[in-house]
Symmetry: C2
């Protein structure tokens, strides 16, 4: 469900292709791939959007690639005719990365959906970009293996998009984000040049870390055709603990206690007072609670670890309750509040924007204090939840009337500024895309941005691959 | 101690500076930094070498930088006069990365040795590049924290070099290599442009992963002035287990059993039959043993994990003995063999070269078989030890007479080819430097190499920063 649709205006910097060039490209694509792999006109209209609040122009043509060769041919034709290309897997991104800012070609890779190999001894998987993350989880777990990254959209999102955005999820705290699992990539560059970077081994330092450069590059450097992923053994057991606190500051102190004792829960999900209010209609929560922490531990020494976690959570000020789930049904009950979140918050207002900032752990309380102040000063409604272990907080602003948009934008900018002031970063797992490009200069120097633009030019000198993403453009405005 | 010295011939591609330009640069460096920070002539001669077997030309001047400003000024002056610069921390690298292939300026950063911050709550350290890795370990552990990367040279090597080479060590199997711990970098680019990349948070996906691009770039993209490192809680206890097997194949099977059961030892060091022979004079080892595995586990549930590890090691074919250390003295005894390795192997021959290949775990036995065959066919002596968990093997070739060098070179090339055939990579933790540059095309396509050269050009258009490293040069030969 999408709440706010801002139509992306194409600025002079995001160059659209000449109509005649587009026509020639379409003819060549038809010849090279066949009409059944192309969508034009209304049929391709749904490819204007992803799961952010921006809508791009309609693509001139959508290519439904079903092989690496299709990707190669498309990128060769696109470069020859200078038609921009926006790569796309499931389109579940939150920052407009898959929105075709310049129209042109959308190169959809969801039909490249083969799991080519799951290797139990070397503990790796070789998959195509269109494999659904949750489906890969299930396949790995059947083999006693585990692929940790678990973005919220795991039932829909695909590995190609996860790699492009360097997706995270609750389990990232213990296991790390997508970057930590990508060993190698089959990539196709603009112009159709196929490349293999990385390896099948866990270790390696041969030349520059090109794999890491592609991970999180938001489809601006190349289009993935194959991904080699490191896997780990499946944790045999999981325990869930829910802790309630009088306020987020007591909750933050508990997080510090847990980590200080060397406990590594696989997730540490924080819900603030306003988030608890939102879900109180759906689940019953102790009325004294002003913050919740939902923790999971896994691994071999589960009982011991659960006990230590319970102790660390309990032994402090402002603890209202600590509940341990003993079985699957109880685990599900503890997760009910967190799961109700999405539906519950959607009922609160017509519009919602969910940000994805990260601050050093020690600054979580301070950021929440500042968010409160921003809310008060701008009369905006907000709630915050997120991954407390790594300081990655989803600050949500809510509003009903379009006329409120300017104060929402002001609040967002103030949030970004507060994040940077506290030593944080603009995005933990959603990327920059188009929605945060204008804030990039708050975090990065103009020299660093220019350096990245120059790297982009090495891969794509004509700026045809996913133009308008990551980097701020003068005069570029979403309205 | 160095065994073989091959003098690096400078090829036309590695351009030396004009003597007049060098003179002008020296005058400016003297003016900007003062004579006390410069070494010229014989005083700088020891900067020709690192811990590899190559020796570069004498540097024209060695700059002993003691601040980020010194680094900036040096790189500005060097670019202005087009004098090549070779950055250097401790000079303990194994592939010639710190050898001044083009003479010119050696920019030594060992005096930038401040630990600026160790933050217990955010679990990070901010250090300068000249901090000795082992000293950082000690400081972190005093605070209850842990910096896992432990290259063999940890008592001498420095963080700057570790980051440049993406250093590993035995603990890398459980904890990952340097790359996994670098959050942010202060970098100075050629020309003297200071830059900050990365962040103080664990998570983040803002623009390209520039931090990862610098890690392992072997001093060719920039010079580090500050490193922000992620830390983890110090493991409260460690247990050591030594297992002996009839041969490496039985040992390989044991490794597979251990990992298959989800046990994550912090190290799994393998010693082959020839390595055991070498250390038998110094430590007593069961005469039936043809392979040794030295394992360490750490963490909270130590007893349980040790028991499970012991079981996994024992329950298979070809197990000679499994010994568990109960206390520190016993641990030291189990490590005695591994520690004796360096001295013992040095006694075996006048010359030794230690390679650093990696194969997928399932291919360890096969690689060892091929190494035996290469040894037989070329009448070269060899022994192999290394990090079995991640397939990173140090294959050593030994010889006495310089006349044997050609067959050693042939054996090295065959080793590299075998590694690639088995799906492996040329270097696990030593980098490419000059000693392996000629093999790079065995692993990487010419397109990929060209792409990396183009990235290098973005940072250093005149190829002045550590020229002659990583990339193969036509006609470039070490003799």
């Amino acid at each position: 469900m999408r709440y706010v649709i801002r139509v992306l205006l194409v600025t002079p910097e995001v160059r659209r292709a000449a109509p005649s060039a587009v026509e020639r490209a379409k003819i060549e694509l038809d010849r090279a791939l066949g009409a059944s792999k192309l969508l034009v006109g209304e049929a391709g209209a749904s490819y204007r959007a992803d799961d952010s609040d921006v809508l791009g122009p309609s693509p001139d043509v959508v290519v439904l690639a079903s092989s690496a060769e299709d990707v190669q041919k498309t990128l060769a034709i696109a470069e020859r005719h200078e038609v921009p290309v926006t790569p796309r897997a499931a389109g579940t991104g939150r920052t407009g990365g898959a929105v075709p800012a310049a129209g042109g070609i959308v190169l959809a890779t969801h039909a490249l959906a083969q799991v080519k190999d799951i290797d139990r001894v070397d503990m790796l998987a070789v998959v195509q970009p269109g494999v659904v993350t949750g489906a890969l989880h299930a396949m790995c777990e059947k083999e006693g293996l585990f692929y940790p990254p678990d973005p919220n959209s795991l039932d829909m999102c695909m590995i190609g998009g996860n790699v492009a955005e360097n997706a995270g999820g609750p389990r990232a705290f213990k296991y790390g984000v997508t970057r930590e699992y990508v060993l190698g990539l089959g990539v196709c560059l603009m112009g159709g040049h196929a490349l293999h970077v990385g390896r099948r081994t866990v270790k390696g330092v041969t030349g520059y870390d090109m794999t890491a450069l592609f991970v999180g590059s938001e489809g601006t450097l190349g289009v993935f055709t194959e991904v080699t992923l490191r896997l780990v053994p499946k944790p045999p057991q999981i325990a869930t603990i829910l802790a309630l606190f009088t306020d987020v500051h007591a909750c933050g102190a508990a997080v510090t206690r847990v980590l200080g004792r060397g406990i590594r829960p696989r997730c540490l999900e924080l819900l603030d007072a306003k988030t608890l209010e939102a879900i109180r209609g759906q689940v019953s929560i102790d009325p004294r609670a002003g913050a919740m922490l939902l923790c999971e531990v896994d691994g071999e020494a589960l009982e011991d670890e659960t006990e230590r976690l319970g102790e660390a959570l309990s032994q402090g000020e402002g603890v209202v309750d600590v509940l341990v789930a003993q079985d699957a049904a109880q685990r599900a009950r503890l997760w009910a509040g967190r799961r109700a979140l999405s539906t519950a918050t959607r009922k609160l207002a017509r519009h919602k924007i969910s940000e994805d900032v990260v601050v050093p752990r020690s600054k979580i309380s301070e950021l929440l204090r500042r968010v409160d102040r921003i809310g008060e000063e701008n009369a905006t409604r907000h709630l915050t939840y997120g991954h407390a272990g790594d300081g990655n907080l989803h600050v949500n602003f809510l509003w009903d009337d379009d006329s409120e948009r300017p104060k929402i934008d002001r609040s967002l900018e103030l949030l970004m500024r507060a994040t940077i002031e506290l030593g944080g970063t603009l995005s933990g797992e959603h990327g920059i895309g188009v929605t945060k490009a204008e804030y990039l200069p708050l975090e990065q120097s103009s020299e660093l941005i220019e350096l990245q633009r120059s790297i982009k030019k090495v891969f794509d000198p004509k700026d045809l691959l996913n133009p308008g993403k990551i980097f701020p453009a003068k005069g570029h405005k979403a309205c």
